[in-house]
């Protein structure tokens, strides 16, 4: 089933099977990127640095030789400390970041909740943002029109759907983004830290929705620090550490090892989806 290795294995090009039993296959993925330490790089600062002969571009090795595959319908939890490469890995699977080396194959329609992607235009309404986000993701207007009521109903935003999104609270933002991601009937759902949006009731509801999706045939990759949620939802868990797979296997086992590593007590605070 779920197989993973963090050891470099010579890549052998296998002829692709006509039908696969996996939905996502990651082979020897390496991802390095350059970025600046500045939040907002400017030409002015670049000139000043040039004068001082400083360089602030850093190369970050976010993912180092990671291989695994996820069978159709399986739920894979990904855990790890901040900066372990979880989000980068998810973005690579989503096709947002190209691999530096290695290969990823994804079979199925993907829906992502990696950033609160809905609402990038603050001055247009929630409704229009849903349409824009959907069109960017490759859906047609007809598909979106069909899905729209379901999305609006799940998000429970009422009249706010027709208000500019800059009037939304952060909880409302999260609710709409979550609702869009899970209501698109995806074959594969990629979710990064999104089970803790909205109030307690909405959190409960989104957890139930996730359960429902898990029971249906959707394949789900879930990144979360909420270890309870991961334990309840995931079939298997990958623990990512410094860009490599530290451990993979059955959820409880991996989570226990991870907690021993973090040296945290068995407490609700650490486990809770906050």
């Amino acid at each position: 089933m779920l197989s993973a290795s963090s050891n470099p294995v010579p890549a052998i090009a296998e002829p692709p099977a006509p039908a696969t039993d996996w939905a996502v296959k990651v082979e020897h993925l390496v991802l390095t990127y350059k970025t600046t330490v500045e939040k907002k790089p400017t030409f002015k600062k670049a000139l000043v640095r040039l004068g001082r002969r400083q360089r602030i571009v850093r190369e970050i090795q976010a993912v180092r030789d990671v291989s695994f595959d996820v069978p159709h319908g399986a739920v894979l939890g990904i855990i790890g400390v901040n900066g372990a490469g979880k989000s980068t890995l998810m973005r690579t699977v989503a096709g947002i970041l190209p691999p530096t080396s290695g290969r990823i194959e994804v079979h199925g329609r993907v829906s992502t909740l990696l950033a609160l992607g809905v609402g990038f235009k603050g001055d247009v309404s929630g409704r229009e943002n849903v349409v824009l986000g959907g069109l960017a993701a490759g859906l047609t207007k007809e598909q979106l029109a069909q899905k729209y009521d379901e999305i609006a109903e799940f998000a429970e935003l009422g009249d706010f759907m027709d208000m500019p999104m800059r009037t939304y609270s952060s909880g409302m933002f999260g609710r709409l983004a979550f609702s869009v991601a899970v209501n698109m009937d995806p074959d594969i759902l990629l979710i990064d830290e999104a089970l803790s949006v909205g109030d307690a009731r909405f959190r409960e509801k989104s957890f139930e929705k996730m359960r429902e999706l898990c029971r249906s045939s959707s394949t789900i990759l879930l990144v979360s620090h909420g270890l309870n949620a991961i334990r309840k939802l995931a079939d298997e868990v990958i623990w990512l550490h410094q860009g490599e797979i530290a451990m993979r296997g059955e959820a409880t086992e991996v989570i226990q090892a991870y907690k021993r590593f973090l040296d945290v007590r068995e407490s609700d605070i650490a486990d809770d989806d906050v």
């Binding site: 692709p16 400017t42 947002i96 194959e105 235009k121 247009v124």
Partner: protein
């Protein structure tokens, strides 16, 4: 129903099977990229439309402003020309100025709005995989939609000035098209640069203003001393603006040389701007 092997060829931009591999020379497979871009064109249109709606240009007063604003700007520049030139103005002179000013603004606003498009689309870029060129191209669409009503203003002044109405005016369509293509190239270029240098928009404002003064808008090529004339060709907007004036203001078929230069500048800007943007676009997600 295509087989998996067939669909696999479509690579990373196919809808159901996605294969992500390192890019060769920093570029994704261009054929698949363009197919995907075309497939999602509705996004660019919808983004432009919602942009206009959010600025209330779908209301009567908004549309009035859409016409009044460029007209007032034109009158300000016209007054400036009269004062500096110390000469009497004519309606024909105003018509010449308005046409050049409106089309220049089509290019300059496309570029300045395009510059903000990628940084402004941050959330979407971090969440969704789609051809990022849609963002600057949508800005160009927005500016084109804002440009169209100004043609009505020009038409009124054109008729009032008694300028000829001849079929040669139709040359204006391909000339404006070259300017839109040029603007799209420019918008893509600055949109990518803006990711690396966020203060570009502040510089850009001044550069576009200088460009306006260096273009044949407040002056005509005939006023330029002979020895400086070759310098005019360094300005990519000189050929299309001059050709446009010949065709639309005077109803004359523009010289082929100017038309060819307009096309050449447009193609060059589009290819360079587009390739630069596409080669950088996968980095946007880690730079925003």
């Amino acid at each position: 129903m295509s087989t998996i092997a067939e669909r696999r060829d479509a690579g990373e931009f196919a809808s159901e099977i996605h294969v992500y591999e390192p890019h060769k020379v920093g570029l994704p497979p261009l054929g698949a990229y363009l197919t995907q871009l075309w497939g999602r064109r509705e996004f660019a249109f919808e983004l432009a439309r919602s942009d206009l709606r959010s600025k209330h240009f779908n209301t009567a007063l908004g549309q009035l402003w859409l016409v009044l604003n460029p007209l007032l700007l034109g009158l300000v520049y016209f007054a400036l020309v009269l004062i500096i030139g110390r000469r009497g103005g004519s309606i024909a002179g105003l018509a010449l100025l308005l046409l050049a000013l409106f089309t220049f603004r089509l290019v300059s606003t496309s570029i300045s709005q395009g510059a903000r498009s990628v940084v402004g689309g941050g959330r979407l870029i971090l969440n969704t995989a789609f051809p990022r060129t849609l963002l600057p191209l949508s800005s160009v669409l927005t500016c084109f939609m804002l440009f169209l009503p100004t043609l009505g203003v020009y038409a009124i002044v054109h008729v009032a000035a008694g300028l000829p109405v001849r079929p040669e005016i139709l040359w204006g369509i391909p000339i404006v098209a070259t300017m839109v293509v040029f603007a799209a190239g420019g918008a893509m270029f600055v949109a990518a640069v803006q990711v690396y240098f966020r203060d570009l928009t502040s510089f850009l404002r001044y550069m576009l203003r200088i460009w306006l003064y260096l273009s044949p808008i407040l002056w005509t090529a005939a006023q330029v001393p002979e020895r400086y004339k070759p310098l005019l060709y360094l300005n990519p907007l000189y050929p299309p603006l001059t050709a446009l004036s010949e065709a639309v203001n005077f109803g004359v078929t523009p010289p082929a040389r100017l038309l060819l230069l307009s096309v050449a500048w447009a193609v060059a800007a589009f290819v360079v701007g587009g390739l630069f943007f596409i080669s950088r676009e996968r980095e946007f997600a880690v730079r925003l």
